[in-house]
Subunit: 151 residues, 2 copies
Amino acid sequence: MDTGSMLSKIRKQLHDGGFKLTPQREATVLVLLENDKDHLSAEEIYMLVKQKSPDIGLATVYRTLEMLTELKVVDKISFNDGVSRYDMRKEGAQHFHHHLLCLECGGIEEVEEDLLVDVEKIIEKRFRFLVKDHRLTFHGVCSNCQNKKSS
Amino acid sequence: MDTGSMLSKIRKQLHDGGFKLTPQREATVLVLLENDKDHLSAEEIYMLVKQKSPDIGLATVYRTLEMLTELKVVDKISFNDGVSRYDMRKEGAQHFHHHLLCLECGGIEEVEEDLLVDVEKIIEKRFRFLVKDHRLTFHGVCSNCQNKKSS
DNA sequence: TTTTTTGCAAAGTCTTTGCATGGAT
DNA sequence: ATCCATGCAAAGACTTTGCAAAAAA
């Protein structure tokens, strides 16, 4: 799906939620679409948006991200470093994808397949807990850093 | 395992790491042991420790928690509310247990069984990622809140 | 006109750090 | 005497909020 149709889809999601896709919000969404492999913090997003719209304020970025999170356009996640990070929800994804956090280099890989289907069934049955979403992050050593260490 | 033997075990872990179990640290560890079903924030731990040792400072609690996290006596986790929470690592547990976060009442249940053994094997094989630990939280509705809503 | 959104600055919350004091080895 | 740990206050990092101005409906 190209950026244009992603954008109109998101515009519709905003309108359905009673919001407008202002130039500032559009610029923020574009940054998120263009960096969908990264896990940007609000500050990082702000810096990138500023290149397109130099007059935007940090508060607007925060407010836009809060709105996008409510609308489930983005998912908000924290990797225990005290910063919230934002990730575009993948097309058609019911649940948030998983993450592999490398303890050596700090890099983050994404795992898009949902590996938790069976686990969720167990949770729903055994705990009578109605699962809506999940956050799964593995901490470990990525293949790159394993190679570096062995050599 | 009773509190006393837990404490001597932790004392040993500290000594092995080159730290002393000072009265302030001991009071902090006791609060954690006594509240191992909760997921206390640093501030909450501070308030409880203050009842035992009124002269303790918040910074000492933060420094103690950082030390205990490094020694893997406790696990640090954030549930996307901007606060770090601390949880005693369960006796003999290789990995951090899972959490069920209720979106209605904010309550947190613990899931002690490790349901990720198979998933981790897939991750290790498919991504050549060496898994050391994990963070898994389900977002949803707990059984209590489901009952409330249907009635 | 009425409502929504924005930018800025200020305030708020959570956490870390500097430093002099105090305790332990 | 040296080293580590503590308490306090200050600073730092991240995020939210109040408000007047601007934009949109």
